[in-house]
């Protein structure tokens, strides 16, 4: 019984059915209470009536004895209509003196709830009183009205109970089937997605019901998953594409090393092949690094990083390179800007930005490095007054293997800025690129 009850609670049908059953039982209980109260009240009312009548007849008895009582009874019976009181007056021998009540006179005086007449089809409530001369007076009231009321109450209660039970079961079935229908739609959508239709979404009817809200949430989750899958697919195809070129080159060089007879040529080919394989390994290392940073597992190594000192250190490291390649440098570094972060990652972020600018701009370009605190953010901007990047290339710039027109002819994995974006995100920061009379990338990092 217990497992059935606990499973019933869990289905909508069972839940509604149980609630309806509870309501029907309450109706039954209320009906029973009403019956009891009404029954008692009516019996009491009858008692009052016969007691009052008996008192009136006893007054007659006091005035003129039994004969006067008999006269009064005859008078009352003559004037009465159907359902009024019935009387019987007998003397000490049991001889009827007056009254038409066709029932035996109870031996003992007092109230009697069920006085059955001689034919057996009338039940009365009666009060028997002994008079001084040994005669007995019975005043009786018919219980038919009382029984009728009782019956009516019981009937109404039974009907209410049955109706509530029926409505409850019908309601439970309706609610259950509506729920089932909605859930079946969601279920079949989920099944379709499992079977490979990733574009399928949960049905919405715009009602704003709880089903709609759950469906909408599920749809947002599916969108997110789809976007991640898309990204993954894009990355894997990019990886495959970007690996093909160096792998083909490696293959050709090894082929060349095998086929050549000249020892010096062979040496050169093998060295070139080694350089190619190293480039491939670098590519993988960069990809792994991005994945690691994106997994955000780096936050536990965060400490306070003074960005000004870090920028100074990197500018110092890059200055010979910047000058040797004919670039100029302009620095505006605000002192005292500190962010929580991973020093090594932030160093790499800045180095990648400097690398990027240095490699993709012609000699004579001025590179600008700026650090400022804006509200609760630190903003690092590294820019140049070079030829810039086309506006339509800006959005893709921070994706893996993104190559803008200006970087197409220079060496590079196309992963540098993707790593910059990943590091900024790991620091709960943002990166943005602008190309407006030059090109610049701004990294905003929260100071708290």
């Amino acid at each position: 019984m217990k497992p059935l009850l606990s499973t019933l609670w869990r289905s909508t049908f069972g839940l509604v059915a149980l609630v309806s059953l509870g309501l029907a039982l309450s109706a039954l209980l209320i009906g029973f209470v009403v019956y009891e109260v009404a029954h008692e009240a009516l019996e009491e009312q009858l008692d009052h009536r016969i007691a009052a009548e008996t008192r009136a007849l006893l007054v007659e008895n006091g005035r003129g004895g039994v004969d006067e009582v008999a006269r009064a009874i005859r008078q009352r019976e003559a004037a009465s209509s159907g359902d009024s009181l019935a009387y019987r007056l007998v003397d000490h021998t049991g001889q009827t003196l007056a009254g038409s009540l066709d029932a035996p006179v109870p031996a003992a005086p007092g109230y009697l709830e069920h006085l059955v007449d001689k034919r057996g089809d009338r039940v009365s409530q009666a009060l028997t009183t002994a008079l001084a001369d040994g005669s007995r007076l019975v005043v009786a009231a018919d219980r038919a009205a009382l029984n009728e009321t009782d019956e009516t109450i019981l009937t109404i209660t039974a009907i209410a109970f049955a109706a509530m039970l029926l409505i409850g079961i019908a309601g439970a079935w309706t609610v259950g089937s509506v729920t089932r229908t909605r859930l079946r739609e969601i279920d079949s959508a989920a099944q379709a997605i499992i079977d490979g239709d990733l574009s399928r979404r949960m049905p919405l009817d715009g009602s704003g019901s709880e089903f709609d809200r759950v469906s909408a949430t599920l749809n947002r989750m599916l969108e997110r998953i789809a976007a991640l899958l898309d990204n993954l697919r894009q990355v894997s195809s990019d990886v495959a594409h970007d690996l093909r070129t160096p792998l083909t080159r490696l293959n050709n060089r090894l082929d060349e090393a095998l086929s050549t007879t000249d020892e010096a040529d062979r040496q050169l080919a093998i060295e070139a092949a080694l350089a190619d394989s190293r480039e491939l390994l670098d590519l993988f290392a960069a990809l792994l690094r991005i994945s690691e940073v994106e997994a955000l597992a780096v936050r536990r190594h965060f400490s306070e990083v003074a960005l000004g000192a870090l920028l100074d250190e990197l500018v110092d490291a890059y200055l010979p390179d910047i000058e040797a390649s004919g670039h100029r440098l302009q620095c505006e570094i605000e002192a005292g800007v500190v962010v929580p972060g991973d020093r090594r990652l932030l160093r790499q972020l800045i180095a990648n930005l400097l690398d990027n600018t240095l490699r993709h701009t012609p000699a004579g370009t001025t590179i600008s490095v700026r650090l400022s605190a804006v509200d609760d953010h630190a903003a690092i901007t590294i820019g140049d007054d070079g030829p810039g990047v086309a506006a339509n290339e800006l959005p893709r710039l921070f994706q893996r293997f993104a190559r803008s027109e200006r970087s197409r002819h220079t060496a590079g994995s196309g992963l540098g800025l993707a790593l910059v974006a990943a590091i900024a995100t790991a620091h709960r920061g943002r990166v943005s690129a602008t190309s407006n009379g030059g090109f610049s990338i701004t990294v905003e990092l929260p100071e708290r």
Partner: protein, 226 residues
């Protein structure tokens, strides 16, 4: 050098064993962490190469137990993951150097050489490095060549000190980036090259022979005293 290699991957182990044996080192190897620790505690090795992930006992625990037992043999730790956290953890556990797989053999060989004789250097920190006519004062941060004072930028000074400290040993570009600039990544630009060319220009301004050799595809080496 007597070197112990604790590495469970057969291909990697053989690659290292063959390569180092060809350079004239005496190599022992183990494929299990517990066995590796047992062998290492013999203490007769000049250097240990320990993989981070090992059956029996992982590399970090091996290292901690070894150090706890008072064994100071220099350790080069290998790892398959380029984890930033792993690197820090490895060095904190007592590794002297850290190398991420896959690596070029030349990189491994250079690092193993750099490990040799390291403890002796650490035991008595030198105030001055004097090789030939070049004299570098670590405390006063000054450099003289043949009595001529040479003014160096801080990074140029650090670069020269690192090269002189490891005289006669090959320093790879990656090692220099790690030790002089604290870069645990390889920038695509020529930081090492440009700094070296400036350093050379200042060092050899008097027409002396260049003490820094460039070994193509391998790295740089400071010529020591004969």
């Amino acid at each position: 050098m007597r070197i112990l290699i604790v590495e469970d991957d057969v291909a990697t182990r053989q690659f290292i064993v063959k390569g180092l044996a060809a350079l004239g080192h005496q190599i022992s190897s183990s494929s299990d962490g517990r066995d590796g620790l047992f062998q290492a505690t013999d203490g007769r090795y000049d250097a240990l190469i320990v993989d981070r992930l090992l059956p029996g006992l992982d590399g970090l625990s091996l290292l901690r137990m070894l150090r706890a037992a008072g064994n100071r043999t220099p350790v080069l730790m290998l790892t398959a993951v380029a984890g930033i956290a792993d690197r820090v953890e490895g060095l904190e556990s007592g590794a002297d150097d850290y190398l991420v797989k896959p690596f070029a053999f030349s990189e491994l060989a250079a690092r193993v050489h750099a490990l040799g004789r390291r403890p002796a250097l650490q035991a008595e920190p030198q105030q001055r490095l004097i090789i030939g006519d070049v004299e570098l004062d670590l405390a006063r941060r000054s450099v003289q060549r043949a009595g001529r004072r040479i003014l160096l930028q801080p990074r140029e000074f650090a670069l020269l000190a690192e090269l002189m400290r490891n005289a006669d040993r090959v320093m790879t570009r990656t090692m220099l980036l790690e030790r002089v600039w604290d870069f645990d990544f390889d920038p695509r630009t020529n930081i090492v090259e440009t700094h070296l060319s400036r350093l050379r220009a200042k060092l050899n301004a008097g027409g002396e022979p260049d003490p820094i050799e460039t070994l193509r595809g391998a790295g740089y080496r400071y010529r020591g005293d004969e």
